[in-house]
């Protein structure tokens, strides 16, 4: 059996079942005869129980490839959904002040529980036009240069930085190379290490390699349960290893790109549980979880002095890596 390639494909049976339940409910609503309606409603209840069980089974013991599909799901809440749910008075700021504007990284100041913070995040699109406008969540150099501006402002005005990470990768095109995509990412990472204000990053979907770390070198890094964080997309890894991009599912196992692995290797601080069936099944519940986690970590970081906030971050990354020490 070949692996599904999209979340929609993987959830197909579930979606068909839900479609059927919706139709049955519509029929019940139209049914004038009370006895028949009751019978229909009872049937619907059974179907819904079946659906819940179906979701339970599908979403328990998810493999890495399923998580890749869920992390990429179109229905999954995106950065701007979190911004709307978790912050007030958000004002989006644009432009790198060097001649270019990017729509795959967004950000600006906002209030979090009444406290000023700087929000930065990757933004994907849900339909064709939106996706093109957001360049599929793949930021160009100007996106990272805008982020640097926002980081600078955060430092100047003593605002903690909250990043939302959700990108397949940074933009790999000719334009991006000409304008120095590598330098832009490196400079953004470097800027994050200069900050003395607390920084918290939440991986909400795809943590795609350099494009992700460019805005995620934070004091605390949290990952939603079904998000992924990887040095290379599994398809790219499969292309290099076996010259077969279609073996992405195999590569996703080898890459250990799940939140559980990231925590095990000491690379993130906490896994945020998702509602049964994934973040998109109950965004409200997801927002509440994320909000509570940010409150907790921000609260702890704000007890530290600015200098300690900075060294805490350095020490955290300084300790990352696994190697052996030879004797003698």
């Amino acid at each position: 059996m070949s692996s599904p390639k999209t979340h929609k494909e993987w959830e197909r049976e579930l979606l068909e079942l839900e479609d059927f339940i919706a139709k049955a409910r519509e029929a019940a609503r139209k049914e004038a005869e009370p006895k028949s309606r009751e019978a229909l409603e009872a049937k619907i209840e059974d179907l819904e129980k079946g659906r819940d069980k179906f979701i339970d089974v599908m979403y328990s013991n998810l493999g890495p490839w399923e998580k890749v599909l869920i992390a990429r799901a179109e229905k999954r809440p995106y950065t701007l959904d979190y911004v709307q749910a978790l912050f007030s008075e958000y004002v989006e700021l644009q432009g790198d002040r060097r001649g270019f504007a990017d729509n795959a990284i967004i950000g600006g100041p906002a209030l979090f529980n009444g406290q000023p913070v700087m929000v930065v995040g990757h933004q994907k699109g849900r339909n064709i036009q939106e996706r093109q406008f957001r360049n599929f969540g793949m930021a160009k150099p100007e996106g990272y240069r805008k982020a640097i501006r926002l980081f600078d402002m955060a430092e100047r005005f003593r605002m903690p930085v909250i990043s939302f990470v959700d990108t397949p990768a940074a933009d790999p095109g000719v334009e991006s190379e000409s304008r120095g995509i590598s330098e832009a990412i490196a400079a953004a990472i470097m800027k994050m290490f200069e900050l003395t204000v607390p920084t918290v990053a939440v991986v909400i979907g795809e943590g795609g390699s350099g494009g992700a770390i460019g805005i995620a070198a934070s004091n605390r890094v949290l990952m939603l349960e079904n998000s992924v964080y990887s040095v290379i997309p599994p398809e790219g890894c499969a292309a290099i290893l076996w010259r077969m991009p279609e073996r992405g599912p195999d590569a996703s196992k080898a890459l250990k790109l799940t939140a559980a692995s990231a925590l095990e290797y000491g690379l993130i601080d906490e896994i945020l549980p998702e509602p049964k069936g994934g973040a998109h099944r109950s965004p409200v519940e997801t927002f509440a979880t994320v909000k509570e986690a940010i409150e907790k970590h921000l609260g702890a970081l704000q007890k530290l002095s600015p200098e300690v906030v900075k060294t805490d971050r350095y020490d955290k990354y300084r300790g990352m890596g696994r190697f052996e020490i030879a004797e003698g």
Partner: protein
């Protein structure tokens, strides 16, 4: 026709770029740069060190570091063993202290022969230590880059080396110690998008491949039309991403001038400290 092609004998070899046959003696004297087309052939870390720094001044450090297989990634151990056998090294980066025209420098040199110079935990640790030593001891840092990018086989651990090494470069900047990066063929992806690109000064060898996305990645992303000089040192120079292109035979002098000028202040502090921190 002679079955023994001259390219295979010891006295001759063939330029990998223009395919012309070169005398080995001339080629070595010319620092492995082709006399005809000027192509700069790749160097091992040992050769690079010998041809750049003062004779017998290189003190290798961090030699106790060895790659494990933290992810139990398929075939990684075999690849490491093969690379070890090929290079007589334990990883892609060689690090330590050296002198350049008698000035102390903190040095790291990548070797492309070791798994494409890729950066995993060990390479990241060595680069980090090199930059930390520079900051702590007030000795300018010189890093020769040669890498295909982050080492896939160590997954997210490799990605985090980008943050770790960049943080160390930031510390160097804060300590007022210059850091010079030399892009050699190739300097790519995760290495380019981290410590390599934020050096105070970046020089590159002529025609070195320098870019963010590997060709396979670009192909998958549907990037088709590219300029002829795309992802070369010359392309980077034209677009303002590097300071200079420096031919191999001028590299030592250029680096020494940069260390003497930019590193003048740091080196006075080094001397005032009696040569050590």
């Amino acid at each position: 026709m002679n079955t023994k092609a001259p390219a295979n004998s010891e006295a001759f070899l063939q330029c990998i770029n223009c395919k012309k046959i070169l005398f080995s003696i001339d080629f070595e004297q010319n620092l492995r740069v082709c006399n005809y087309c000027g192509h700069h052939h790749r160097l091992s870390a040992a050769t690079r060190i010998a041809w750049t720094f003062d004779e017998d001044t290189f003190e290798e450090l961090d030699t106790e570091l060895r790659s494990g297989n933290p992810l139990e990634f398929p075939d990684y151990v075999d690849k490491l063993h093969a690379a070890e056998a090929k290079t007589k090294r334990f990883d892609s980066v060689v690090s330590g202290r050296a002198k350049l025209e008698e000035m102390p420098v903190s040095v790291a040199v990548a070797d492309f022969n070791f798994m494409g110079g890729s950066m995993g935990s060990v390479a990241g640790e060595k680069i980090t230590r090199t930059l930390e030593r520079a900051a702590d001891e007030q000795t300018p840092a010189i890093i020769f880059c040669a890498s295909g990018g982050a080492r896939m086989q160590e997954g997210l651990l490799s990605l985090m080396q980008m943050a770790k090494t960049t943080a160390a470069a930031q510390r160097c900047a804060e300590a007022g110690v210059p850091y010079i990066a030399v892009f050699t063929d190739p300097t790519m992806a995760g290495v380019l998008a981290s410590y390599a690109s934020i050096a105070d000064v970046i020089v590159a060898e002529p025609r070195a491949l320098v870019g963010f996305a590997g060709t396979r990645v670009s192909k998958q992303a549907g990037v088709s039309k590219v300029p002829d000089d795309f992802q070369t040192a010359e392309f980077c120079l034209k677009h303002g991403m590097i300071d200079r292109i420096v031919p191999r035979k001028e590299m030592r002098d250029t680096l020494a001038s940069l260390v003497r000028t930019l590193g003048g202040h740091a080196l006075s502090a080094y001397a005032a400290n009696g040569g050590k921190k």
